[in-house]
Amino acid sequence: MTLAISASDLHVSYGRLDVLRGVSFDMTKGQGVVLLGANGCGKSTLMRSLNGLEKLRSGTIHIHGEQLSTARGRQLRQVRRGMGYVFQQFNLVPQLNAFQNVLLGAMGRHRMGLLSCLSLTASAQERERALHCLERVGMADRALHRPAELSGGQQQRVAIARMLMQAPRVVVADEPIASLDPKAGREVLDLLWRIVREEGLTMLCTLHHLELAQEYADRILGMKAGRIEIDAAVTDTNTPQLNALYTGMTRVDARLGEVAA
């Protein structure tokens, strides 16, 4: 059985700063993994490099057996098409309404790209599909609203609908609820995990709440200063062990003196 995500010995640097310092992990299909770690420990960089948004210095990434780390052009787009990405800042196009934003999720699937995904030109099938995606996140009645007219939680729901529209097999969610209030965050996270489980998707999700992580995840990855410190089934972890991820030398740019202070 091929693995959904297989990353081995990833190194990423910004200039002279080593951000990922040899990260390796595998994820089987259908697994839901939560990635924990303090701010600045390299979580986002790891997530971004899984989508090819960040260049690797060395190491290899396979997504469903397809080599991502050396892919270019069409090949890279092919891999990205199979991977949905949910951002902390939602990243909807502000000038377009929710419906059009969701339709844009299908761009990778069409040879004509954008031309097949404008509300004006998209096929009836795709338009229905987009509305269905909005229904699944409970936003069908807001289809013609622009992002600015929606609350943060609603915007993230639209972003999840866009991800659904893409029909990915793997989902990467980078702090999907970090900019939402606790109640909205809880609802969005519920929705996201429910959809992922219903569709049988593989998900890697970063969170800052230990309790939520323990509640939703099958498995927990813990990062500290650019390395994986914890990799265990959620039943094998305990709260003090997870809390330790947030103390001491957590940041990749930390210097000895600052930690002592």
Partner: protein
């Protein structure tokens, strides 16, 4: 309070470089005044000439109004056609010149070079060049406006493209969309309001330049104005200037009200 902190000085002597710049500027300024032979006597004479001009210009002679209307229409044709093509050509050029949309550094440098040439050469000189290449008449004016608009609009478009938030285009890139799809799906919609405002500014600018292009024979109402002035028919010239004023002000009002609605 520690005694090592001093009050900031009231006055700090300028650096040597500032002195050089200041003295150089003053020398150039004085030399300019001497060279252009400015004297009170000439200014007084100029003022009396101005009174004579105004005296002859009033009342303005609108008897050639049908011809003037034709010429003004031609000026507006030049402006509208020129600015439309100019804005259309500016979009691809600006995409090639913006850091986040250019395919590579060499193309970007070339596109920026083209834009800065279009901007650096004034519209009247473009008109002279096109009068030589395509002959007298409105076509030369249209081409001159196209070049002038590119120099202005393409530069502002490309600056706007560079300022768009990275997030949305990154999100579309992450879906596996191609580069052009990302540009047209995220970057162009995000900069739509500001590019429209820039385009409306270009229209105002184009109307103003189209008026003067006739002076070098590139069609429009400028031809009428220069003829009237050369024949000392100041009353006709005054009528032309009034027509120009009304049209330009009207256009600016229209474009301002559209712009307010968009932003």
């Amino acid at each position: 309070m520690s005694d090592t902190t001093n009050l900031p000085p009231r006055f700090r002597a300028p650096s040597a470089l500032s002195w050089v710049v200041l003295v150089g500027f003053a020398a150039f300024f004085i030399q300019g005044i001497i060279a252009s032979d400015i004297s009170v006597e000439r200014l007084v004479k100029g003022a009396s000439n101005l009174v004579r001009f105004v005296g002859q210009a009033i009342p303005p002679d609108f008897s050639r109004m049908p011809n003037l209307a034709d010429a003004m229409l031609e000026t507006m044709n030049i402006a509208v056609v020129g600015v439309t093509f100019g804005c259309l050509f500016s979009v691809p050029l600006a995409l090639l010149a913006a850091r986040n949309t250019a395919p590579n550094g060499a193309v970007r440098a070339f596109a920026r070079f083209v834009i800065s040439v279009a901007r650096t050469i004034p519209d009247l000189i473009w008109a002279l060049i096109f009068v030589v290449t395509v002959g007298l008449g409105p076509l030369a004016g249209i081409l001159a406006i196209v070049m002038d608009t590119i120099g202005f609009a393409a530069r502002f478009y490309s600056e706007r493209f560079e300022e768009v938030q990275k997030g949305p285009s990154e999100a579309l890139t992450a879906t596996g969309a191609g580069r052009l799809s990302v540009i047209f799906g995220a970057i162009l919609p995000e900069s739509f309001a500001s590019t429209t405002a820039t385009s409306l500014f270009s229209v105002e600018k184009a109307i103003r330049s189209a008026v003067t292009l006739g002076l070098v024979g590139a069609g429009g109402i400028g031809v009428e104005l220069s003829t009237a002035m050369r024949l000392f028919r100041y009353d006709q010239a005054a009528a032309i200037i009034i027509v120009i004023l009304v049209v330009v002000v009207g256009f600016e009002q229209l474009s301002t009200s559209i712009r307010k609605r968009i932003i």
